[in-house]
């Protein structure tokens, strides 16, 4: 009984992921219509501006692969960004600020994971609750004001370069490689596929879905903490609405990147391309001097168009 793998013949064009085509189209359109879009300075700008989103979208991919969601990411990032500002202002140390941000982020991530896995609250509701808590705490600790006068050591992170590459881009690259290794090369990554794909199989293999889920959400919090440092550095201040709506962009990037919300079907390279697509879209609309409200609407339209496009392709 010799039986080869059952693979249907695929047209070469169909091998190109939808998100890559989408990104290519956006680059072509904005290259033609948005003034200065293809300049070196602007390309660098898009890359640097996409780093925070990259830091959020990568763990969001893992969370969505477990058939979960983290709506609190933007609000938690606001809080960690404020933590960086307040602590570095008080201590004069960038590292102390980062440590505080990471602690706050991991704490929120762990609470999210605990609510979802131990208490059994649906992820949408659980993280909506922590979104409100993080947003409220942000207003309390900042008294509704921007936190200004933070040390140069924080601000410099955003403008510094390493071997000619902006530091935020280096951070994003390292983060991507770390997530890629985590998902595709470690046991933990294998179990993430099983969390969304077949939780029973995991239990049968003697692994605790509870612990794994908490870890996945905690990683989301950790990344929100690190992203908080970049955010504060970028704005040179802590602002009580700094991360507003970022969870929307992160979920959009994951969805555009081809990760489905069911059965543990996730694709990390797609998320990276999705982040770039969202970044290019926002940047291009900005260059065309359209109002920022158009950006939000267009990101929404991008998600719907991407999924529609994928559906069309998979049917044909």
């Amino acid at each position: 009984m010799r039986e080869g793998a059952v693979t249907l013949p695929v047209h070469p064009l169909q091998r190109i992921p939808g998100v890559a085509i989408m990104l290519g189209l956006l680059v072509v359109v904005f290259g033609a219509f948005a003034p200065g879009f293809l300049s070196v300075a602007n390309v660098s700008n898009v890359l640097v501006q996409s780093t925070i989103l990259m830091l959020l979208a990568l763990p969001m991919t893992l969370i969505i692969m477990t058939e979960g969601l983290d709506l609190s990411m933007g609000a938690v990032l606001t809080l960690t960004s404020l933590a960086v500002a307040i602590v570095s202002l008080a201590t004069g140390s960038m590292l102390a600020g980062l440590a505080a941000a990471v602690m706050v982020g991991v704490a929120f991530g762990t609470i999210n994971g605990w609510l979802v896995s131990v208490i059994g609250i649906p992820p949408f509701v659980a993280t909506l609750g922590t979104l409100g808590m993080a947003q409220g705490l942000s207003l309390i600790v900042s008294d509704g004001q921007s936190v200004v006068g933070i040390p140069h050591s924080v601000r410099d992170i955003y403008s510094a370069t390493l071997l000619g590459i902006p530091v935020p881009v280096v951070v994003a690259l390292i983060t991507y490689l770390a997530f890629d290794s985590l998902l595709y090369r470690t046991r933990f990554g294998t179990y993430i596929f099983a969390l969304g794909g077949n939780r029973e199989a995991l239990i049968y293999a003697g692994k605790s879905p509870t612990k794994l889920l908490i870890a996945v959400y905690a990683i989301g919090g950790l990344m929100a903490g690190i992203a908080g440092l970049l955010m504060t550095a970028r704005m040179n201040s802590g602002h009580p609405t700094a991360g507003l709506g970022l969870e929307f962009d992160a979920i959009a990037a994951v969805a555009v990147g081809g990760t489905s919300f069911e059965r543990g079907n996730g694709w990390l390279p797609g998320t990276a391309l999705g982040v770039m697509a969202v970044g290019v879209l926002r940047n291009g609309i900005n260059l065309m001097a359209l109002p920022s409200s158009v950006q939000v609407a267009s990101v929404g339209a991008l998600v719907i168009f991407a999924l529609f496009f994928d559906g069309l392709r998979s049917r044909s």
């Binding site: 090369r185 470690t186 049968y204």
Partner: protein, 512 residues
């Protein structure tokens, strides 16, 4: 005829030494049901032991006791002659018992190798990583050992059912399983795929693996089995060898369940005109060339084993699944549209899972009773609470639904009364043909006879009914005649006089 069917009991003395696994006097009771009653069972290495029985005979319970999912109330386990305990799935795994479930335990977006070694990944040089080369090599070797030539880095999502089953078996083998339990493994396979599985089973046998195989398909039982154990009502009826028995004898051993149900039969019905006529119906869901008709004033049974296509026929008649060929004529008019159209014409489908498909459990009895007939009751589009209440109260009285009031939430009623609410809901629409899919599932004996009485009254008053049931005894009790299905086709028709459990099973399992 239910006594003394210990035909052809095989003496164990023909084997050398102790069996690989032996169960002695296993009993398991659930509230109200004795699922297993003093069952003994043994298996030797390199043997395929067939487990045969009707629905509810205790096959699944025995399997769950074996793999540690259930704990037996009493009885002992012996592994190679030594007494052991199976109290958890871990205990069973340690003894090398693996179950190939029908719902697969595979992760769709991991590859074959990752699935085989899930939870037991070989460690790579860097901490926490997986030794990719080793996992692929080991998987390749295990797959080769069962004769499955496939690249282990293929994602399971891309595999068909048969290949997934092979991966599942490879997974069991990799866990050093010596006893494989297969629950109707060919149920979802094509003939060619089944051939692959049978070849694999022969190979496993040669390697000394013991296989416990649950099946309804008589040809399989004879082709593969070294021994056959028949269960009925949770008891072991007998153990036979395929070369010393016949299909008819197996059927006789399976039937003869005791029925403790009083039901005022009313067979003095004169069938009226044909209400439903199905001609040459085929669907993409696996039924082909179905011919049947239902007349006014009669209850027609549609029986066969689980998976023989009964529900699919009902769904196609109701327009829930598209037909690929044939026609469905209701009251002289063809049904062409979907469920909406069928319901408007006067068809009612009372689904098997009434809790999820037939009722809004949190809403009141009254709401549930009028929900299907809102358009008829309130043509203006405005909801008049008084009229709804009156209709609800009438139906409660007419159907004798035991509820404190029409305001009671349906979920709080007993199974039998919930079923009456579903029937009442369709009665309010003026339905004239009722299709009952397993109408007594999960309903106690008292509730059952009430449901039957109600069905009887419906047809005496001019309706027609098509009843799907896995309970052969109930078909014999209630139906005026019955169609028997096997593998998506009508295998035969039984008139009232021919309607016995034995005749149904003969048609359902093999060519009579």
């Amino acid at each position: 005829m239910s006594t003394a069917v210990q035909i052809g009991d095989v003496a164990h003395g023909t084997r050398n030494g102790a069996p690989l696994l032996e169960l002695r006097g296993i009993s398991k009771e659930f509230p109200g049901v004795k699922a297993l009653d003093d069952v003994s069972f043994s298996i030797w290495p390199g043997e395929v032991h067939m487990l045969l029985g009707e629905n509810g005979a205790g096959k699944s319970s025995l399997m769950k006791v074996l793999c540690g999912a259930y704990r037996a109330d009493s009885g002992d386990f012996y592994y190679r002659g030594e007494k052991v305990a199976i109290r958890s799935t871990a205990d069973a795994q340690k003894l090398g018992i693996a179950v190939i479930f029908q719902e697969f335990s595979l992760v769709p977006y991991l590859d074959i190798a990752q699935n085989i070694f899930l939870g037991r990944e070989p460690a790579g040089r860097v901490p926490y990583t997986i030794d990719r080369r080793k996992i692929l090599g080991d998987a390749k070797r295990i797959l080769a050992s069962i004769g499955f030539d496939i690249d282990p880095s293929v994602t399971v999502q891309k595999l068909g059912v048969a290949h997934r089953q092979m991966v599942e078996i490879a997974k069991a083998i990799s866990q050093h399983a010596r006893i494989l339990v297969m629950d109707e493994p060919t149920a979802a396979l094509s003939d060619r795929e089944s051939e692959l599985l049978f070849a694999l089973i022969a190979r496993l046998k040669a390697d000394g693996v013991a296989i416990i195989y649950i099946s309804h398909r008589i040809p399989e039982v004879f082709a593969l089995g070294d021994r056959i154990t028949v269960l009925r009502d949770g008891r072991r009826i007998g153990e036979v060898r395929p070369d010393l028995t016949s299909p008819d004898e197996l059927v006789r051993m399976m039937v003869g369940r005791t029925v403790d149900m009083s039901y005022p039969q009313n067979f003095v019905k004169t069938p009226g005109k044909i209400v439903l006529e199905v001609k040459g119906l085929s669907t993409a869901t696996g039924v082909s060339d179905i011919d049947l008709c239902v007349r006014q004033n009669e209850i027609v049974g549609l029986c066969g084993l689980v998976g023989s296509g009964r529900t699919e026929v009902a769904r196609a008649i109701f327009g829930a699944d598209r037909k690929t060929a044939g026609e469905i004529i209701f009251d002289g008019k063809p049904i062409t549209g979907g469920p909406d159209h069928a319901a408007r014409l006067g068809l009612a489908l009372i689904p098997e899972s009434r809790q999820t498909e037939g009722l809004a459990l949190l809403r009141s009895v009254g709401d549930n009773l009028v929900v299907a007939s809102l358009r008829k009751l309130f043509p203006s589009g405005l909801f008049w609470a008084n009229r709804a209440r009156r209709v609800g109260e009438d139906l409660v009285q007419q159907l004798r639904i035991a509820t404190p009031s029409t305001k009671q939430a349906v979920g709080l009623l007993s199974g039998g009364n919930q079923q009456k609410v579903v029937i009442g809901k369709w009665l309010a629409t003026g339905a004239r043909l009722f299709i009952f899919d397993e109408p007594t599932r999960g309903i106690d004996v008292g509730g059952k006879s009430e449901i039957f009485t109600l069905m009887d009254r419906l047809v005496v008053e001019g309706a027609a009914a098509l009843m799907i049931s896995s309970e052969q005894t109930e078909i014999c009790l209630v139906c005026d005649r019955a169609y028997v299905m096997r593998e998506g086709r009508i295998a035969g028709h039984l008139s009232r006089a021919e309607l016995t459990e034995e005749n149904i099973l003969k048609l359902a399992m093999h060519d009579a």
